[in-house]
């Protein structure tokens, strides 16, 4: 039984590591020195209360002294050794190592387990890339469009005598396909821009799951308007449910301050203008922004999205609309007014913004950053920024914002964090 380290040997090694005399340890656990000597040479079986006493005196977890743990300690060590053959540590020395340095063996085994968990997560992500239908469809769209462009462009280049009618058709095809490629590649990057956590077999994050619960209800909850928390469907992840319930409690608090019966007609009457509504109800602007995004959908209500972020710029809540959605992972364009508001708390900002690229919606954005929760002397406030977006209703020239540095072609941008993978038009 190669993996087996006898308990007596462990006791002896540990005692020697601590520099304790055999007689001193024996006295503290209430046995004779000679009996401990027999134990240490594996000539007496030991367990239960006496082993527990020795573990306490030797300041070590009892499990690390027990024979039963030997395989569970040594096997992962051997696996770790085998996985790094270039280090030539020799799997056969794992037993000696675990015996002499049980604490370090525990560290290595914990790391090995961590590596295995990460590997499982990577596998799950790879599996998602291979089998997620949304990603597969999006990838197919990108590659098919690229194929059409490549094939068409080749014909144009390789056929100098192409008649003008075909030339015109192929030029038009390339134009439409290049616009499609820009759109579809951005959609694909959006799908790949995922956070990971929780169950490695499910890379949909708990925040995404909570957001899906809200999206399924159109971000409007009649029960919250009446002060009641919603019931989530069976099978919802516990943490996702907790997050959604937290958002629902915030919703209930907002609804209590601005009841729908008063707010809804006033919002319509004031053309959903946040500044006028804040003045009308004498409440903070951020509350108005949240309530506008909670209005039930109707023909009279324009589509309104909402995004909230913490002081680190991490998106904590999002109601996407049309082609507006910010990446949660911190790679959003810092030119969005949401992030500009963070640097000037209490300053309400309004601007019109439009992302670069074809077929983009121009959005009117209202944003403000403000402290949330209790404010105390000597304690830094928790700042949160809120931004409401809706399709712009005027011809005001929009400020350019990007989809994220990786796929943004705006040249000379002083806020660029990393080079773009997309070449600007030459």
């Amino acid at each position: 039984m190669a993996d087996r380290i006898l308990t007596g040997t462990r006791v002896r090694n540990r005692r020697l590591d601590l520099g304790l005399r055999q007689s001193a340890v024996a006295e503290r656990v209430g046995i004779s020195g000679s009996y401990l000597n027999l134990i240490e040479h594996n000539r007496r079986r030991i367990g239960g209360k006496l082993l527990g006493g020795l573990a306490r005196v030797l300041e070590i977890d009892q499990a690390q002294l027990e024979d039963e743990t030997s395989a569970s300690v040594i096997t992962p060590l051997k696996v770790a050794a085998v996985e790094f053959p270039s280090l030539a540590v020799g799997a056969e020395s794992a037993e000696e190592f675990a015996s002499r340095f049980p604490g370090w063996a525990g560290v290595i085994n914990s790391q090995q387990a961590h590596i295995e968990r990460l590997t499982a997560k990577v596998d799950a992500l790879a599996n998602r890339l291979a089998h997620d239908t949304k990603i597969a469809t999006s990838l197919h769209e990108v590659i098919s469009t690229a194929t059409a462009i490549r094939s068409t462009a080749s014909i144009l280049v390789e056929t100098p005598d192409l008649d003008s009618e075909w030339q015109g058709r192929f030029h038009t095809n390339i134009d439409t396909d290049s616009a499609r490629l820009a759109e579809s590649s951005q959609a694909l990057l959006g799908l790949l821009d995922i956070e990971t956590g929780g169950d490695p077999s499910d890379v949909s994050t708990v925040v995404e799951q909570a957001e899906a619960l809200f999206a399924a209800r159109g971000f409007h909850f009649p029960e919250c308007e009446n002060g009641d928390e919603p019931d989530w469907p069976d099978g919802v992840d516990g943490v996702a449910g907790e997050i959604a319930s937290g958002w629902a409690r915030d919703y209930i608090a907002d609804a209590a301050r601005l009841p729908l019966a008063q707010f809804s007609p006033a919002a319509e009457q004031m053309a959903f203008d946040p500044a006028r509504l804040a003045a009308r109800f004498d409440v903070p602007v951020e509350l108005i922004l949240r309530r506008l995004a909670q209005l039930p959908a109707s023909a009279a209500v324009p589509p309104m999205g909402l995004v909230r972020c913490d002081s680190a710029g991490v998106i904590t809540f999002q109601k996407p609309i049309l082609d507006f959605r910010l990446p949660r992972a911190g790679s959003a364009c810092p030119l969005w007014p949401l992030f500009q508001a963070l640097s000037q708390p209490g300053h309400a900002l309004r601007s019109v913004a439009r992302m670069s690229g074809a077929a983009r919606t121009t959005f009117e954005c209202f944003s403000i950053a403000a402290p949330v929760g209790p404010v105390a002397f000597g304690v830094p406030p928790r700042i949160e920024a809120t931004m409401l977006v809706r399709p712009a209703q005027s011809d005001e020239a929009p400020n350019p914002v990007g989809p994220g540095c990786r796929i943004c072609t705006v040249e000379g941008c002083t806020s660029r964090r990393q080079p773009s993978v997309v070449q600007p038009k030459g």
């Binding site: 068409t152 075909w166 439409t176």
Partner: protein, 122 residues
């Protein structure tokens, strides 16, 4: 009249480009864009060669290929599969179902022409 090729593909601009280069090479090109009715289209006049996309609306190219190989009229017709997915298992699946050739998008016109000519001569 040249040899007949049926291109089953749902991307209109790929259809146009591939049709152009094959027609210029002397092929009579027929096209079809729907997976669900693809077998009916084939059976209306079995072509000399079929170029079959994998991801089609209505029915996958793999399912269509399986039916083609099960039918007496088309069991020996050369079929070149087109797919945007280049993983080894996709190729194995296509070949296992009886594809004569497998081509991964994005492909070049020269590759398509070379393959079609080779399949026509096989």
């Amino acid at each position: 009249m040249g040899q007949r090729v049926l291109l089953i593909e749902d991307e209109p601009n790929i259809i146009e480009a591939v049709s152009y280069i094959l027609s210029r090479d002397g092929w009579t090109v027929h096209t079809h864009s729907d997976g669900e009715t693809a077998i009916e289209k084939v059976m209306q006049g079995v072509p000399d060669l079929i170029i079959l996309d994998v991801m089609l609306p209505g029915r996958s190219g793999y399912d269509i290929l399986r039916d083609l190989r099960a039918a007496a009229e088309t069991k020996d017709t050369p079929v070149m599969m087109l797919t945007a997915r280049g993983q080894a298992k996709d190729r194995e699946l296509a070949i296992g179902l009886g594809a004569t050739q497998f081509m991964t998008k994005p492909f070049s016109n020269a590759e398509v022409l070379e393959s079609v000519r080779a399949l026509a001569g096989s």
